[in-house]
């Protein structure tokens, strides 16, 4: 069976919104897809008849095993293409998302497998996100240097690059520790400082040296 670009985008959005096996609301989906809740309801009914998800009215939606498989296939293509764009075609890692949004809907299975082989079966895309293999399996998210964390991606501090007392003193002063959740808001080319935002706090900047000493896991 084959699906329209629109249908695939719905499945992908549900996959990203649904943490593990949680349920996704109509409103959240509408926001993610830049459409209206009424349109979402219509599409959910359609995707239900195609057995890609389970859906009871007013109860939210959850992908079926088949829906999850489709979603993983799309995510696999998206991330492989991102890897290709950055690694092979020398795109900047911050300019590949929109292009990959289009490329992920190219249907040829053979193309995906050949591309994967050409790239050397990469396990992570340029943003540090894991690439599902052809069976839909993917490795756990690795640590990423905070300096490489994309904008507006919620992440959790998972490690530090040194144990020096000076570093720990600074971290204590900034109120950052293992498990702190943050996201990157801006990057300043002049001194490579970055502005970060921690929940319930105003954004503040940290130096390049500090950012490089912090490792995070995206959530």
């Amino acid at each position: 069976m084959s699906f329209s670009v629109t249908e695939e985008n719905y499945i992908k959005a549900i996959f990203h919104l649904q943490e593990d096996d949680g349920t996704v609301s109509t409103n959240d989906l509408a926001a993610a897809l830049q459409t209206r809740p009424a349109s979402v309801t219509d599409m959910l009914k359609k995707l239900k008849t195609k057995k890609l998800l389970s859906y009871e009215r007013y109860k939210g939606v959850r992908l079926s095993a088949e829906g999850k498989k489709l979603a993983l296939g799309i995510v696999r293509k998206h991330r492989l293409w991102e890897y290709f764009l950055v690694d092979t075609l020398q795109f900047g890692w911050d300019e590949v998302h929109e292009v990959a949004e289009e490329l992920e809907h190219i249907s040829s299975k053979k193309l995906v497998e050949k591309l994967d082989a050409f790239l050397g079966h990469p396990r992570f895309d340029p943003h540090g996100d894991p690439i599902p293999d052809s069976h839909g399996k993917m490795l756990a998210q690795p640590q990423v240097n905070l300096i490489d964390l994309p904008f507006n991606k919620m992440a959790e501090v998972s490690g530090v690059g040194s144990q020096s007392t000076e570093l720990l003193e600074l971290l204590k002063h900034k109120n950052i520790g293992i498990g702190t959740r943050l996201e990157v808001k801006r990057k300043f080319g002049f001194d490579h400082s970055i502005e970060i935002k921690i929940r319930n706090q105003n954004p503040f900047t940290i130096s390049q040296q500090l950012a490089q000493a912090l490792f995070v896991k995206t959530l």
Copy 2:
């Protein structure tokens, strides 16, 4: 301005049907696009308002300068992707067309230029068709060895690989000469012989040796 996949496919089909500045009929377009003449009429009206072509009812259609530019852009993408699939991803040259039909509609201009550079600015695709450059210019069709001519592609014999009397004797016997129009119908792996068809004649096979001695230009 941006166009739907359907609109692009109409423009591309008109481009291929319209030799130089000839006019294309509704029926021919419908046949090429596997659709109905009535649908073609509707679309032509729409594309006319978008200034991609000139069209008077019952008088056929012809691309405008703008339409031609768009068509060349699509052809450029199609052929660059075909080159990529064969050259980089090791596809067989006979299995790339359908995939390229999808890839040609990816819109990113930057992607096309980066791909072109990565491939080394190729002038001809794996089928021997010229690839338009970023300004829409393309080189004249080169000669292709008959052994490499794709199925069902009308071509004209334009040269021979040797001047030996034995070759010319054989060509005379088979009634093949410079300017003879033919197309390849089958290829036999066992002895690499190929079956060719000349207008108003029954198809017949020629040996690998003979095919390799013949050069053709596609029409």
